[in-house]
């Protein structure tokens, strides 16, 4: 009944054509633009871009924050996932739901709260001044730390969900067996949990890393023009300087990194026995 492959193709084609025309085509053109200098194909655009110090700073900063957020979320994620796994059914469902909840709320709302917390008249500063640790408010907003915290809060649920999902597949009693055989908790983690939850870690790590690289709202609100990341830089270049070449270059970098991470992910997931 499903032999007529062309019939199937016809059903799937509208979606594919829609996305292809509307999406791939314009993006493709955008990405090719930096290669055109005075009507000729050249990589001069890329070279110029790479040599500007600001671009270098932004690029390194974006990568750095991406790794930091991924790493931190992995640590917190494992701790949290382990605790969640050990909860009984009813509580586990509720906690899990609460972890997933933030994902459904607009990033604008989630990031905005940090303004209240980190602002000059915000909670942290009030506490610091109240405790007498400083006479004037410290500048916490528009720093890399602020962006880091914002991104961490944004993507931590993804890591937790991914790890919980993969930890659920741990053989029952494996941790207890390792304990009885003499392993301390560090050894249990390194020798049993980590090898067996590798897939979840890579999935979570990739999602968090690419998410952080391609985030716009959080760096925009918490970093502003003082702490530029690749996406906010892109926006600035286009809006302020009509610099579409830079836009295309940044876009290509971001896509390559996203794509690369996804391929890595498929590789690791595919090697699961």
């Amino acid at each position: 009944m499903f032999q007529n492959r062309n019939e199937g193709l016809a059903l799937a084609l509208p979606a594919a054509v829609f996305t292809g025309l509307l999406f791939l085509l314009p993006v493709g053109i955008l990405l090719s633009e930096p290669f055109q200098v005075d009507g000729q194909w050249s990589i001069q655009g890329y070279v110029d871009f790479a040599f500007k110090p600001l671009n270098q700073v932004v690029f390194i900063r974006t990568l750095k924050l991406g790794f930091l957020v991924a790493f931190t979320s992995a640590i917190i994620g494992y701790a949290c996932a382990f605790c969640i796994i050990n909860l009984d059914g009813k509580h586990r469902g509720r906690v899990f739901g609460m972890v997933m909840l933030p994902l459904m709320i607009s990033p604008v709302a989630r990031t905005y709260a940090w303004i209240v917390i980190l602002g000059r008249t915000g909670i942290v500063n009030d506490t610091i001044i109240g405790l007498g640790l400083s006479d004037t408010p410290i500048r916490l907003l528009f720093t890399e730390t602020a962006v880091f915290l914002g991104l961490l809060q944004l993507f931590l649920p993804l890591m937790i969900i991914s790890l919980v999902s993969s930890m659920e597949n741990l053989p029952k009693d494996a941790v207890s067996a390792a304990r009885v055989l003499g392993a301390n908790w560090f050894q249990v983690f390194m020798r049993i949990i980590l090898p067996l939850t590798k897939d979840g870690l890579v999935l979570g790590g990739t999602l968090v890393f690419t998410g952080s690289l391609t985030a716009y709202i959080t760096p925009a609100i918490l970093g502003g023009s003082k702490v530029l990341m690749l996406e906010t830089l892109l926006y600035q270049r286009v809006n302020v300087a009509n610099d579409f070449v830079s836009a295309g270059i940044i876009a290509t970098i971001l896509i390559l990194m996203s794509f690369g991470a996804n391929i890595l992910l498929k590789r690791v997931a595919g090697t699961r026995s």
Partner: protein, 259 residues
């Protein structure tokens, strides 16, 4: 037992970090003062009320709603046949089509918005609303396909074959056998698409123009002018809306099965 206590603390602190800010916004929006502060100086609903009075918020809310509802419906019209084809047939270029349809998720939204603006909207002189509509549809499509596919994969194809053998036409079989069974999957896809579209910022960033803005973009530009608590109130309301939608979805659909 100390280990349970530690366990509870870890979860509590993590949840506080993740959800705490939400409560802070709600409280900040209740401030009676004129500045954004927490704890709020006095309690008042005036900012929550003001949110409904600001005309640009009303307009952008309407636009966001329109995009979310109709964009998702369109995405489903495109996506359900595609999901059906991908899961039942062994179509030529199947993998390619899968990748193409999933691509919008991989490409950062801001690039999509910019590309659409430069190479589609401007040359073809499309209205901003149309451009936003097309963009949001393309963005929701991958989610729609994924969720409906997952639903279809759980439905065995011999049911349709049985229906056909009993005299149904192919389309009849689809309508009578497949659709009722993937109902909750389609509904789940709708809700997921709705929430994704509504909260979307990067794509809409370049495409929005004066007077034609999605709500999140409107909020961002409002924030550039003033820091008054109305944004906090609005954020809180939006968050509440999302929470209620998801809660209802989970209650009636067992939503988490599909995501």
């Amino acid at each position: 037992m100390t280990s349970t206590w530690i366990s509870r603390m870890i979860i509590f602190i993590t949840l506080a970090f993740l959800i705490g800010p939400f409560f802070i916004i709600v409280a900040a929006g209740l401030s009676a003062g004129d500045f954004l502060a927490f704890p709020p100086e006095g309690l008042s609903l005036k900012w929550y009320i003001k949110v409904f009075e600001v005309e640009s918020f009303r307009e952008s809310f309407a636009l966001s709603m329109f995009l979310a509802v109709f964009g998702t419906i369109t995405a489903l019209f495109l996506g359900v046949p595609a999901a059906y084809a991908l899961s039942r047939y062994n179509i030529p270029y199947g993998e390619t089509i899968k990748t193409v349809v999933a691509a919008p998720i991989i490409v950062p939204g801001i690039i999509v918005g910019l590309a659409l603006l430069r190479y589609l909207v401007v040359p073809l002189n499309l209205t901003i609303t149309l451009a936003l509509f097309l963009a949001h549809t393309a963005l929701v499509l991958p989610y729609a396909v994924r969720v409906v596919s997952s639903s279809l994969n759980n439905l065995r194809s011999d049911m349709e074959e049985a229906a056909v053998l009993l005299g149904c036409s192919r389309i009849g079989a689809f309508i009578r056998v497949v659709l009722p069974n993937i109902q909750s999957g389609v509904l789940a896809a709708f809700i997921l698409g709705f929430v994704t579209s509504f909260n979307q910022v990067p794509v809409s960033l370049f495409l929005s123009g004066p007077g034609v803005r999605t709500l999140p973009i409107d909020m961002l530009s409002y924030m550039e002018i003033t820091y008054d608590p109305s944004v906090a109130a609005l954020s809180a309301l939006l968050a509440l809306m999302s929470v209620i939608i998801i809660f209802v979805a989970e209650k009636f659909l067992g939503f988490s099965r599909y995501v």
